[in-house]
């Protein structure tokens, strides 16, 4: 099976042109009314208007890179460089829409395999060139922002040519992939074997498997299929000082689990080139349903019971708070429902799905939930990847939209929902743009769950500062509550300076020690994940 070259995402927004449609007049009017804003358009500047700085790489560095991957795979034209100039956070998009690129790599390098990645790292170490590993480019935390941090230049290491399914072990339910395979292609390749990964985050259509691993991605069906880190049986990593292969068995007591050091390392410790992944049979049955809960508290109690009851946990489980429930209905043009909407999904063999669905229904009914039937579930499933497109549309009419997420234990979840919701509202209002704060629970565990907030407000004159202020207040509230700064978006630049709070100063020192050993020149994704020793933001080149 030949890989179709994956399309780059739009410069100014999410996905492809084909995925975009203008906002309906009804929705636009509703948003403007709710936010109390006057109509205006804030269109994006075109890619062709962008000025790109000259390539800073010297001839020797370019020659070494060309020797590593071949001349056809060293791209220095402005468009390729601009399309690798960062990720897809609202901050990224606001900048780009305004015609500003935070930073542009000097070249985009397309290695053809693990050995070529090693060769590129060797060349970049020799010439002190920063390397930004680039999968689907979907980071919403600044994880793929090109930074030099004192080095002579910077490349985006785009892994799209590492696109092969190398091996399928149907007996052990294991598949070995190259890390650049995009998620939809991975599913298509596995489907031919009757298998699936079952990993479908909202970014599914554009992400790579290596990116999932490097950021500890969590898919929308994490309750049933597990987080991506739980699917990684083994991995191969290219580092500036050589390759490392980890994971020889389904479980081991042979010392610390070093796979867990590279999962979540966001390209700062090495480049994941190969993944040995747990797969499952393609589900025979997929059912999605909606439930109505009287209030958020009852909803959280119901989710907790589902997560803690043997055999009752659905494959997909989500709960929107009253505000998100109301807005979801409004967007769909439906009347405002009471209480909270929950979505349950079940995937698997028919008999097992039926058993699980009955067990879950019993728990939900016992918790005061009312079944809404498959309509609400199908509606969620149909629109599950559309959130980022809607964000672009709203950014284009002067609205600020951004999300943040965290996780904590069940006993702290309602309090954190209330506290963080209030902090976000107050921060918006204090900035002069009172707005909407919506939230859902989308990943549940026996001991706790995630909270995913969406903030919607009128864009201020300086929307970057507007959001940065709100985000800082939220981060402080998360840290004070003892929750995690990120359940699944990752660290990148945006959460880096909370890392000492999250894992302690000594935890950060451990990451520095490992990085110093594997990447002595500091070429790998500089400035991300690991806060600089001074505690001050590191300087960008």
């Amino acid at each position: 099976m030949t890989a179709p070259e994956p399309a780059d995402m739009l410069w100014w927004g999410w996905g492809t042109e084909a995925g975009h449609a203008p906002l309906s007049e009804e929705l636009r009017a509703l948003v403007e009314q709710v936010l109390g804003m006057t109509r205006r358009d804030t269109p994006a500047v075109g890619l062709d208007t962008m000025r790109v700085p000259p390539v800073a790489l010297g001839a020797a560095a370019l020659a070494a890179l060309t020797a590593a991957v071949g001349p056809a795979h060293v791209l220095t034209e402005p468009q390729a460089r601009l399309l690798h100039s960062g990720g897809k956070s609202t901050t990224d998009l606001l900048r780009r829409r305004a015609g500003e690129a935070a930073s542009v790599p000097d070249a985009v390098i397309l290695p053809g395999g693990h050995e070529e990645v090693l060769a590129v790292l060797e060349a970049c170490t020799a010439h002190a060139v920063a390397v930004i590993p680039f999968g689907g480019g979907t980071s919403v935390v600044g994880g793929v922002e090109p930074r030099r941090d004192g080095l002579s230049g910077c490349i985006a290491l785009d892994l799209r040519r590492l696109d092969r399914l190398l091996e399928v072990d149907g007996e052990s339910l294991i598949a070995i992939f190259e890390a650049g395979v995009r998620a939809p292609r991975a599913e298509a390749l596995l489907a031919a074997h009757g298998l699936t990964l079952g990993h479908q985050p909202q970014s599914f259509e554009h992400t790579s498997l290596g990116g999932f691993a490097a950021t500890r991605s969590a898919g929308q069906a994490s309750a049933g299929y597990g987080r991506f880190d739980e699917l990684v049986e083994g991995l191969v990593v290219a580092t500036p000082i050589g390759a490392i292969e980890l994971g020889r068995a389904p479980a081991s007591a042979a010392g610390p689990d070093l796979r867990q050091l590279f999962l979540g390392s966001e390209g700062t410790l090495g480049v994941i080139t190969r993944l040995r992944l747990r797969v499952r049979p393609l589900p025979a049955v997929r059912v999605f349903e909606g439930w109505s809960l009287p209030d958020f508290s009852a909803g959280v109690a119901a989710l907790r019971r589902l997560a803690q009851t043997d055999g009752a946990l659905p494959t997909v489980l989500r709960l929107s708070d009253p505000a998100e429930t109301a807005i979801t209905a409004a967007i769909a043009g439906e009347p405002t429902p009471a209480g909270c909407l929950a979505i349950t999904g079940y995937e698997g063999e028919a008999v097992a799905v039926t058993a699980r669905r009955l067990a879950a229904a019993a728990v939900l009914s016992g918790a005061g939930a009312t079944p809404l039937g498959p309509g609400a579930g199908d509606s969620w499933q149909r629109t599950r990847y559309q959130g980022p497109y809607l964000r672009d549309a709203l950014l284009g009419i002067g609205v600020l939209v951004e999300t943040l997420e965290t996780a904590t234990s069940w006993s702290g979840l309602e309090r954190l929902h209330a506290t963080l919701g209030a902090v976000l509202s107050e921060a918006l209002t204090a900035g002069g743009t009172p707005g909407l704060v919506l939230c859902h629970v989308s990943h549940v565990y026996a001991t706790g769950a995630s909270l995913y907030f969406t903030v919607v407000a009128t864009q201020a004159a300086d929307p970057l500062t507007q959001w940065a202020t709100v985000k800082r207040a939220a981060g402080a509230a998360v840290a004070a509550a003892g929750a995690t700064i990120t359940h699944h978006h990752g660290v990148g630049l945006d959460h880096r300076d909370w890392m000492a709070q999250e894992i302690g100063e000594l935890g950060v020192e451990i990451l520095r020690a490992v990085k110093a050993r594997l990447d002595p020149t500091g070429i790998l994704n500089p400035g991300k994940l690991i806060p600089p020793r001074s505690g001050l933001p590191s300087a960008d080149g």
Copy 2:
């Protein structure tokens, strides 16, 4: 609840005197007949006959230790030192039975809490004294063997006074323990709250929670309750340069999961002082059953189906190969059964247990298994902790008994069983003592399973060399098969020199880099887990 001081285990063997009974004449005669040996007794030398070297610690070091924990908690008398002179591998026991202690710590230090552990580490760093963290002392891989490796002295850091249950969060199903709590006491403390850890390895009666964490323990009910590393939501670690606390949420994408660096670190990177653990409701129902499979291949296929079928995996699942099946029956005085014995156990709420049991029975019957009823299951459950006592009895009649274990994917499991079984048999025979090689599968995962071998032979004139030769051949076969050198016994000294094979030279370099940062003087459990850079065994002091 006041903690009863946990009893030290016997000097020469497992557990307590009360747990020991002489071999029945029938069993002894059977063993002698099967191995073709003439009757002889190989009794253990008493603790009182042991000569103990003088305490090598200087006055300043002793004063610093005394300042850290108080004079009552610095033990230098010979008996306490001897009782902390190593673990419980067959090699350890053969040595001790012969009146030889491999090495004896200069003192046993009993800190009263996390802060005192930090103070001890500071004192030992200042005075260059090796620290051997000591929980239950059940290591079978040399993990608690006192070694100096060039340092001025050596202490056993016995954590038995860190014995408190600090917090129970029944809503989140989380309990916070100090790390020295012994497993039976942890279960008793949790039972008062209607909760359980469900972690019951064969060493259960004598192990500590910190030991479980530091060695990535797997309990006999791992299929239902998970491995111990999966139960650790958070941990606090004391290191020579300070404390580190990790784990703020049920799941996180805030960079690498550094908990996984300390889980399995075997006291080489820090001393785990506190654990935040996932707990579960005490099961309302416990059912154990036996099944007969026509042969090992059918048994493995059945276990694989159980592990890969939604809702069909028992809480406990084990499969003995034909040799172990036959010997188990012989020990119980039963006629030799055909085929292979499997044990299934189910724990939980009545309805869920029934559902799971029916689903498993359908899979087992479909795989050609015949139900044996609860008798075989109850018999296994009754004798589940008796293996180590039987080993002592056999060591006392001139028999060598030792175990080793590994894990691999389902597609490689039968081949590894055959290969490794043959290698063990051939190595025994080549050494002049043909013997029995028994095996069971006791931990299953969706992608693979463990193999646990027991070797029984007549003791050679030098049984230490006899076993070392066999073990070396087995290690080479495991590595050649791409399996893990240890599924749950850990690394310690015995597997240390296979670590570069297991995680690569770069993996070992990562461990060295982390250790150099956290333990710059190298006081923490020297010589264990991390192979010395030369590739040669490190010198012992």
